[in-house]
């Protein structure tokens, strides 16, 4: 069942819900169309599944369209994605033409809904060219970039810039991700849903059962890192830190990620991690299906300390999830992690395996301080990184777009 706005009251309080209702009043009846490239899988679809019913409940005429494309189209857009994140990817002219052609076909299919909408949110690069093929549009068009585009490959960015430059505004997750564009660039940090499978409260018995199923001993502390096997997440550094901890204290390490079967680089990193772990029975390398959210949830709740020892990071939603579960964090001093892990308050920022080991030992031996950090982390997420805050940002943004570019916008009663 899809949660209603009132389901969030226990987490954020009535003041926040009242604010959402008041802020949405001037937008009642406005048609809002979100467009992305998939209805299932991935963080964007996850958020839209929750956000759109809430926008509807608030009186907006919100809908969600998904573009259709063939396999070569999605190969190209995967290339865009990697390339925007800085990986060198060669995209050939005929591929760019195919990308535009698929967008043109989708614009013809979705044309009326898009042209008539008051607000159109185009998520990520896949449908970015819809604007070009919707000349008779009446509403405001916003390009929502969920990707860390702080260091894009220039040829890809130049191509995309031509497409997204014509939008009325764009939205990035962090200031560091934004690229120069000829329109207002809004910042809306990501958020987690406290009612999703990944974050919902679990019973102690379910957490214990999951730990047992995964072979974790109940009597030793668990250290956990949830991430892809990617060298920027530094899983090898995590194993080294764990070794240093183990020479002082008993502990178990879990590195949980998705299967790296379709990712040659991931496979190589996983092999390196295996080698570094050297068959240590206290180190578990778990390959979980990408949608096994409940297992991840249980692992995060079972962990005594959660690690995210990234060398580079986008926002780091796994950090948000762990903080929400009151886990103290030991994390890399990188990207959006620094907005979440506040040194000595919600965890520690580290730069080396040695630093990580020292902080882990501190947290394992100072349980009260660890618990206080966990509570602070929970409150930090409650205030700043829950879905209701993201919903508020979108409503504020739409009000601002509807009213003009002023710094102070007064809405009527």
């Amino acid at each position: 069942m899809i949660p209603t706005l009132d389901s969030y009251a226990p987490f954020v309080g009535q003041n926040v819900l009242r604010q959402l209702r008041q802020l949405s009043a001037p937008l009642r009846g406005a048609s809002v169309v979100h467009v992305n490239s998939t209805r299932a899988g991935g963080g964007v679809a996850e958020i839209l599944h929750r956000l759109i019913p809430l926008q509807r409940e608030l009186g907006l005429d919100a809908s969600w369209e998904v573009i259709e494309g063939d396999a070569p189209f999605f190969d190209i857009t995967k290339g865009f994605h990697n390339s925007l994140q800085g990986q060198p990817v060669a995209i050939r002219p005929h591929q760019l033409e195919h990308f535009l052609e698929v967008n043109r076909q989708n614009a013809a299919r979705l044309g009326d809904a898009l042209a008539a909408a008051d607000f159109v949110f185009i998520h990520d690069p896949q449908p970015a060219a819809l604007l070009r093929f919707t000349p008779e549009r009446r509403g405001q068009w916003v390009w929502r970039c969920h990707i860390d585009a702080s260091r894009p490959q220039r040829p890809t960015w130049k191509f995309l810039r031509e497409l997204v430059g014509g939008y009325d505004a764009s939205v990035f997750s962090l200031a560091a991700f934004a690229q120069p564009l000829p329109h207002p660039e809004y910042l809306v940090p990501p958020a987690i849903d406290p009612l999703s499978e990944k974050n919902v409260e679990l019973s102690e018995s379910e957490i214990a059962a999951t730990a047992e199923r995964l072979g974790l001993a109940p009597d030793r502390p668990v250290l956990l890192q949830v991430s892809r096997f990617d060298r920027f997440k530094d899983p090898v550094g995590v194993v080294r830190a764990f070794r240093m901890v183990r020479s002082y204290l008993p502990a178990q390490l879990v590195l949980a990620g998705s299967s790296a079967a379709d990712d040659p680089e991931g496979e190589a990193v996983l092999e390196q991690v295996r080698e570094e772990a050297g068959g240590d029975p206290e180190i578990s390398l778990l390959m979980l299906p990408p949608d096994d959210h409940r297992t991840i949830n249980a692992l995060q709740r079972r962990a005594d300390v959660v690690l995210q020892k990234s060398l580079r990071e986008g926002f780091g939603l796994t950090v948000t999830e762990a903080l929400w579960k009151r886990r103290p964090m030991v994390a890399g001093d990188a990207g959006g992690i620094t907005l979440q892990v506040i040194p000595n308050r919600t965890g520690f920022l580290v730069h080396t395996p040695e630093g990580a080991a020292l902080r882990i030992r501190f947290l394992l031996q100072n349980r009260e301080i660890a618990a206080e950090m966990g509570e602070r982390g929970r409150e930090h997420v409650r205030e700043n990184f829950l879905l209701t805050r993201q919903l508020r940002d979108y409503l504020t943004l739409m009000n601002a777009l509807a009213q003009g570019a002023g710094e102070l916008i007064e809405l009527d009663a």
Binding site: E185, Y186, L187, T396
Partner: protein, 221 residues
Amino acid sequence: MRSPDPTPFEVKDCALITLALGRTAQTLRELRDRVAEVPLGSLRHHMLESKLRPSFDDPELPNDFALWALDALRDLELAERLSAIDAALLAEGETLRQRLLDVLEDRLAEEPRLDAARPGHEFHFLRSQLVVYPTDQAAGDPRALAELLPRFSLGGVYLHFVESRLRPPRGEDDFSTWLDDWGETGQALRERLATVDPMFGSLRELRSRIAAAVDGNGAAR
């Protein structure tokens, strides 16, 4: 004959949306250069409106410039001096910019060895739009206002108690302006509110201090 009561205090709320300005600084010198050229609205954002932005409420450093000096430049002296700049100077427009520039230039003159922030820790200049909207809350008299204050949203606290001080001509909080119309009836509450420093701490703490002051039992009295 008693004059008619003033009109009720109508509570408003606000929400902030942040925008990237597309300008960054990696060194103190770059920070100085950017502070000299960015719109005043950007300085207002980093000095004051950041209280409404999703971020951790630092209990010690009250503005983004001071936080960056400490976190990215590791310059404690500069952080302390930037912390001491009163955001209320925003009411005087360019005076705030000049005060910031004075502090930054003094530091550049006395400490030539200053380091750059590591990659990924640059200062990103932002600006914001504040959307103000009516609520269904109102206070008919000073007693009702005192009861309502502890339940204000953080946006309401910011708008009526902080941002209002930057608005001419009175440059004071909206509550005090309204209480003025109540003569002696409003004077006691007005005096208690005057004991609360509006620029210090997070909005949550500020709301607690306001609540303690109007309750009459708190430390702020």
